[in-house]
């Protein structure tokens, strides 16, 4: 026989100003099965909690309804109080009289009536509650960081410095990401390589970090604290332990005409190559797609010249299987290239380049050792045009969002150009200048006022080539929409930042959401910006949306803290509000008929198969089983199951039905 206790809180005056709390307690007290009912000014206070604890003992309560604020606020408080009073915490429910009633209604009888209804429905529900035990899952204290840009580097170092093991997987031959390609960085103009390289080296040397470059994620299974990850280490075609990184092979390789990715195609590299001088690890890989030996079956020059005999042409890809507790996704971004723009010639004009190409031109380690020379003929451009928002903020032809970084890097580019070509003229076409950030607007002002960059507010309609010059036709909307025509030597497009290639496939492997632009999606845009909707997988950097280095690094540290917090316990405790497939004795075992429709709809891959076998191992029946570690309690499977074999613990069909019936019936 149920014996329910009801505790009505005034929440100071938050509830009692419009709800007659005394009347609620009195009315509810008369209901069948309610053994005790009272009201109090602050239920969450120490004396308030004591009232609950005492009543549980005194009245031998089998269930408690605290009628107060939102369960988001104080459910843990009251469940804990109940546990201290000797009641299973999951036999405590909250009726939300504040957000659902007192705050949204005037003071009158109807408001009090509604409050009574809300409490009644919870009384009916709690009668059907059962005692549940929290779920414990073990934690493997090793983190996986996917992507070795500045985001991944920061996260990995932070986690490793907390004393935890980290595995970093980077798909290119070196870590460093886009930051390694940048010349100088806004808003301070410090050299990107100089601040990045030491951190790259730290990753390689950290005793807690294992680095796999030229490697990709093959598959991810499991759940928070217990992921099983397969990594494909692509064959580098050499023995890394023997190779000394002398680089002799890279200078002798006869295949030298491969567009250099690191130089954004503005230089060539051999088939066996180290992507850039500061690469970590500083060892070459053979690009099998372009190597003459793999294409034609002969060459092997590198093998002949290698002083340590490190080359291994028959090296296979290697698959590693790792146990991982938490994952940080930091796969970064790409940019749209000039061939996206029909109005600017589909990439056919050599002197129309993108922002990353300009970074390489301006970089001391770049193809021109830092001189701004135009790609077509190596001349110094006297007149240069930068076009901001190229392809951005244009739902009709490009993409709708603002990439956030390009206003700043365009100001930087114009400034760097002026610093290097004093007599040159720099023009910037822009829509708005978006320079929010510490010292950011000052930086743009500096470009305009001190370096005399000509900012023109307006769009460029077309660019074409005539007599070796680029004719840039645009409009100046601050001068009454006057057409502007600039005869330029070079044009730099500040193209949109887009999701990195393969982001969608990776998101699907990880079972995390991504947005319509294929950027990884955070669990909550404000309150959970580094979490994904899959427990134990976190985000860092530009893989979520284009961001600059300070934002990237902050988020990367945030993700690291989340991982460290997870690793601070050896076991995870989870609320048992998960689905359960019913079980009974033989010969039924369960009403589940084994159709496994539920398996196909579960967004978290939480449904497994369980076999019931005879003693000699013959399978009698296979039914669904919920993996409690993975289930997020969304209830999709419950709604789908045709034989009604699944129920959500704490929110069973019967409980919800009882709530609804209570609301529909008079009392």
């Amino acid at each position: 026989m149920a014996r329910i206790g009801v505790f009505v809180c005034h929440c100071g005056e938050n509830i009692s100003a419009t709800v007659d709390c005394g009347k609620v307690a009195e009315t509810i007290g008369k209901l069948k099965h309610v053994a005790y009912s009272t009201d109090y000014k602050y239920m969450c206070s120490d004396p308030g909690q004591t009232i609950i604890k005492d009543a549980i003992k005194e009245h031998n309560l089998t269930g408690v309804v605290v009628s107060a604020c939102s369960p988001r606020m104080h459910e843990p408080t009251f469940r804990k109080a109940c546990a201290e009073g000797g009641l299973n915490p999951f036999l405590c429910e909250m009726a939300n009289l504040r957000e659902h009633c007192s705050w949204v209604h005037e003071k009158n009888d109807l408001t009090t009536e509604k409050a009574i209804d809300i409490v009644r429905s919870q009384v009916e529900k709690v009668k059907l509650n059962s005692a549940l035990q929290p779920i414990k899952v073990p934690v493997t204290r090793t983190a996986l960081v996917i992507g070795g840009g500045i985001a991944g580097i920061q996260s990995a170092l932070d986690i490793a410095n907390c004393g935890h093991k980290v595995v970093m997987v980077e798909r290119s031959p070196s870590i460093g990401g886009h930051m390694s390609q940048l010349s100088e960085t806004f808003p301070t103009l410090d050299c990107s390589q100089c601040i990045l390289t030491p951190r790259m080296v730290e990753v390689a040397q950290h005793p807690n970090i294992t680095l796999y470059t030229y490697a990709e994620i093959e598959s991810v299974e499991g759940f928070i604290g217990n992921f099983k990850v397969k990594i494909r280490k692509k064959a580098k075609s050499l023995d890394e332990k023997i190779c000394t990184g002398c680089g002799l092979c890279t200078t002798k390789c006869p295949q030298k005409k491969i567009p250099n990715e690191f130089e954004q195609g503005m230089g060539m590299r051999p088939a066996i190559y180290i992507p850039f001088p500061q690469a970590v690890p500083n060892r070459p890989v053979i690009d099998r797609e372009h190597c003459t030996y793999y294409i034609k079956g002969k060459c092997k020059v590198c093998e002949i010249v290698c002083p340590t005999k490190a080359i291994r042409f028959d090296q296979p890809d290697e698959i590693l299987e790792l146990e991982i507790g938490a994952i940080v996704v930091s796969t970064g971004f790409d940019i749209k290239h000039a061939d996206f723009f029909p109005e600017y010639g589909y990439g056919k004009y050599k002197d129309i380049i993108d922002g990353l190409q300009f970074e390489r031109l301006a970089s001391a380690s770049g193809p021109t050792t830092g001189a701004i020379l135009r790609p077509s003929d190596g001349q110094v451009p006297k007149n240069i045009v930068f076009i901001a928002c190229a392809g951005s903020r244009d739902p009709a032809k490009g993409i709708a969002y603002c990439s956030k970084i390009c206003c700043m890097y365009t100001a930087k580019h114009a400034m760097l150009y002026k610093h290097k070509v004093h007599e040159g003229k720099a023009h910037v076409f822009y829509m708005d200048i978006r320079s929010g950030g510490k010292n950011y607007d000052e930086f743009v002002r500096r470009a305009i006022e001190e370096d005399h960059v000509n900012y023109i507010r307006g769009r460029v309609s077309t660019i074409y080539e005539r007599d070796g010059k680029l004719i840039v036709k645009g409009v100046d909307t601050l001068l009454g929409a006057q057409p502007v025509e600039i005869v330029a030597d070079m044009v730099v497009l500040a193209t949109a930042g887009i999701a990195s290639s393969g982001a969608e496939e990776l998101a699907q492997k990880l079972h995390v959401s991504y947005d319509s632009h294929k950027f990884f999606a955070e669990a909550h845009p404000k309150l959970k910006p580094v979490e994904t909707n899959t427990a134990g997988i976190f985000l860092a950097g530009a893989c979520q949306n284009p961001k600059d280095i300070p934002d990237t690094v902050s988020q990367a540290s945030g993700a690291a803290v989340k991982v460290a917090a997870l690793f601070s316990q050896s076991e995870l405790t989870r609320e048992p509000l998960v689905a359960a497939v019913n079980r009974s004795g033989p010969p039924m075992y369960s009403t589940c008929v084994g159709c496994f429709l539920c398996q196909s709809v579960c967004p978290y891959q939480a449904i497994e198969r369980e076999d019931f076998k005879t003693r000699d191992g013959k399978i009698i029946k296979t039914v669904a089983k919920i993996n409690e570690g993975l289930c997020q309690g969304c209830g999709t499977c419950v709604a789908l199951c045709r034989s009604k074999s699944i129920d959500l613990q704490g929110y069973s069909n019967n409980q919800v039905y009882a709530e609804v019936v209570a609301l529909l019936n008079e009392y």
Binding site: Y346, T462, R466, I471
Partner: protein
């Protein structure tokens, strides 16, 4: 297969040269046209500036007539007519209610089943496959293909070629031996319908296109639209007066160029009707 032709007003008027070359080509390749019977004005620039329903009803009537007469494909040599017809089909396809209303207005059942081909599509489909065997006089000239506005725009509706840097006409011209130049004025405005009301604007805009083509060393400008042709050819004296120039570059319809390449006489393809003398033959 029966296929239809919708000439529109210009092919029977100011662009008789175009008309003659289209028919000459058809004849040479053994193709036969049926003119859409009882055809009417497509509405041109005027209708869609005044009344949307009218601007859809006029082309819809043409299309309904084509359907009624079993014409599965109709070729529309004029780029403006082509645009009006395709836009109408697009609008009526996405709005069935509008389609019913227009059907009532034209007192005919419009279904949208006839395929609409512009002149390049028609050439691609029926001429190019047999071009090699008929080619007798390769068109060994440097040409600037001028597409104008309506052949490739609006891109979302037509779904034809690339709006900013179209290629289809260039490809056809290269097939008959021409060298096509890459130039940015391919789809710049020629002044279009202002030809009559504001000749000065046409002179200015068309002049820029001609200058660009001549500057880049083209021997001829190739077009596929009567309006473009009249602005670049018939308005040449105005253009030269406006710019104080002496542009002599001839303007040919793509069908005329092909006609010459397969050995048809200049008269046969209407070249004698041009204002700017065509020394090419």
């Amino acid at each position: 297969m029966k296929f239809g032709i919708y000439p529109g007003c210009s092919l029977t008027g100011s662009a008789r040269d175009y008309n003659e070359s289209v028919f000459a080509l058809a004849e040479a390749f053994g193709l036969e046209f049926t003119q859409v019977p009882d055809w009417n004005c497509c509405g041109a620039t005027a209708a869609h500036n005044l009344n949307k329903e009218l601007s859809l009803a006029l082309p819809a009537r043409i299309l309904a007539l084509a359907e009624k007469n079993g014409l599965e494909e109709i070729i529309v040599p004029c780029a403006a007519c082509y645009s009006r017809l395709v836009v109408t089909r697009h609008e009526l396809k996405k709005d069935p209610e509008l389609k019913n209303r227009i059907s009532e207005v034209i007192e005919m059942d419009y279904r949208g089943t006839s395929k609409i081909l512009n002149v390049i599509e028609w050439i691609d489909k029926y001429i190019t496959p047999k071009l090699d065997e008929k080619l007798v006089k390769p068109f060994n000239y440097k040409v600037a293909c001028y597409y104008g506005c309506l052949l490739v725009r609006p891109n979302k509706v037509l779904g034809y070629d690339r709006a900013e840097d179209p290629q289809t006409m260039d490809i056809v011209m290269r097939k008959i031996g021409a060298e096509t130049i890459d130039y940015p004025s391919k789809t710049e405005c020629c002044g279009a319908g202002l030809s009559i009301s504001r000749t000065d604007i046409v002179s200015k805009l068309s002049g820029k296109i001609i200058e660009d083509a001549e500057h880049r060393g083209a021997d001829a400008i190739i077009v596929a639209c009567p309006m473009c042709h009249s602005n670049l050819d018939m308005r040449r004296p105005d253009i030269n007066k406006y710019w104080k120039t002496d542009f002599k570059i001839p303007v040919l319809f793509v069908t005329q160029a092909i006609g010459l390449a397969i050995g048809l006489s200049p008269e046969k393809v209407g070249l004698k009707r041009h204002f700017v003398e065509v020394k090419i033959s």
